[in-house]
């Protein structure tokens, strides 16, 4: 890898690392003051355990032959050096991807907020990473789904749809919070939410544009798309709220920005021109309605992981079927509908997401049931009332 690209991948990896704290603040600010540390800990925990798992075994399992799962050839980073022409390019890529592996289960924490036993979470994260994240990642990148022609630039299917539907399965087993939905759960610190939002957007440039794994035109396009889709979705969400509820809100802006970032993730390296604005507007408007589904359907997805990550990821992934522009990749991938490609790509996108959804939902549900039957997944009612910061971590956020 040339030094410019190497720098780009390293910077992008650092940016993605920064996103997990960003996510923690985004979620933690929305949480109540007596549960915020539990939320932060759920997120920081991911970035402690998953990197170790990733370099020891996870990365290896995403590589090599195998349509469904890779091999153990690179167990413990065996055979990965920094010398020779590659100049560390592979190792840099492994670090970069390790950041993705860490943030993916962290996304789920927003759904299970305020009531999940930390000990259950501590087991859930590594198990889920290995039996859900790693296989789906493999299918999408180099496995059977990718081979069929579906596209996922930076992890719409592999990360957001995957984690989003897992969140639904998890709260299905976990149940509702005491008092939900009658009681309001207002964000205890909106400035913390906005700090998280700022960090997320900033870091997402690494997430998406870094996924080009080189400092090239595709990276630039992914960068621009990340910029425009987030702005468009944030704007769209705000406009919907303004028209529907009467106000521009900060939480609306923040949620829209994140929805746009999620939606552009799978598409960032395949679309161009004004397409990211279209994708952002659609994603922002749809997610602004999707977060209300939980009230209608009765699942307590505390901080809207389903409404933002699952729905946003799905919307983004499907729009590829319309907007994919082969100009960006060479001719070896399919055109979107709007570029004369017919519904073929769209069908592949649907199939890929369907496969991810089925696997992720079913296996996550299974893991949660097992946890429920063993260590238990839910804190005591008393602990829930008192707050998880004190009961689970013997800490208090503010003094």
């Amino acid at each position: 890898m040339d030094s410019g690209s190497l720098t780009w991948v390293l910077v992008s990896a650092a940016l993605v690392l920064f996103m997990t704290p960003g996510l923690a603040f985004f979620y933690g600010g929305m949480d109540r003051g007596r549960n915020v540390l539990n939320m932060l800990m759920m997120n920081f925990y991911c970035v402690l355990i998953v990197p170790l798992l990733w370099v020891i075994v996870g990365y290896s399992l995403t590589q090599g032959e195998g349509n469904f799962i890779g091999t153990l050839d690179h167990f413990g980073l065996k055979g990965i050096g920094i010398l020779g022409e590659d100049a560390g390019g592979t190792l840099a890529t492994i670090a970069f991807l390790g950041m993705f592996a860490a943030i993916t289960p962290a996304l789920i924490s927003g759904a299970v907020a305020d009531r999940m036993k930390f000990s259950a979470w501590a087991i859930f994260v590594p198990v889920w990473s290995l039996v859900v994240y790693v296989p789906v990642f493999r299918w999408v990148y180099g496995g059977w789904l990718g081979d069929r022609g579906s596209l996922d630039f930076a992890g719409g299917t592999a990360i957001h749809v995957n984690a989003g539907i897992a969140a639904l399965a998890a709260v299905g087993v976990l149940g509702k919070r005491k008092g939900w939905p009658e009681e309001g759960h207002p964000p205890h610190s909106m400035p913390l939410v906005m700090i998280g939002t700022g960090i997320l957007w900033f870091g997402w440039f690494g997430f998406n544009a870094g996924s080009a794994l080189a400092a090239n035109g595709q990276a630039v396009q992914a960068f621009m798309n990340t910029f425009l889709a987030a702005a468009a979705a944030g704007f769209a969400w705000c406009v919907v709220e303004r028209v529907r509820d009467g106000h521009f809100t900060n939480l609306g802006a923040a949620s829209g920005i994140v929805a746009g970032l999620v939606a552009i993730t799978p598409a960032a390296g395949y679309v161009s021109g004004m397409a990211p604005i279209a994708i952002g507007v659609v994603a922002g408007a749809i997610c602004c309605y999707a977060v209300r589904l939980k009230n209608r359907l009765g699942y307590d997805d505390a901080l809207d992981v389903v409404g933002v990550h699952f729905v946003g990821g799905l919307v983004g992934s499907l729009t590829i079927g319309f907007f994919a522009n082969p100009e960006y990749f060479g001719a070896d991938f399919m055109e979107g509908l709007f570029y004369g490609g017919g519904v073929k790509l769209l069908a592949e996108q649907a199939l890929a997401n369907l496969a991810a959804i089925v696997w992720s939902f079913a296996v996550t549900f299974g893991i949660m049931i097992l946890l429920k039957k063993t260590v238990g997944v839910r804190v005591s009612e008393e602990a829930e009332v008192e707050g998880l910061d004190l009961s689970e971590h013997a800490e208090a956020a503010y003094h």
Partner: protein, 113 residues
Amino acid sequence: MPSLVTAIIKPFKLEEVRTALQSVGVLGLTATEVQGYGRQGGKTETFRGSEYKVEFVPKVKVEVLVPTSEVDEVITVIARTANSGKIGDGKIWSVDVAKVMRIRTGEFGDQAI
């Protein structure tokens, strides 16, 4: 015998009330941030498009120890300054105090105020 006059007022009136009391010779008071519920009604916040009613509105509680003879004056002064004519202006009440002491000097009664 001193009395304790307590008033619940709108937060932005605190500075005015303090100054007015000072100008009639009240040398000290204690203020507390409280949450009021009353005829004024709460406010509505939105949170990802769901509205929720916050029943309580921020108020300030002012407590003043005064010689009982000055209770009426103090009540009048507070009432005049804290009044905005709008619902939610608050209440004033007074209670008889059995004993008062100044910690620093150990003085009791009206001297302690």
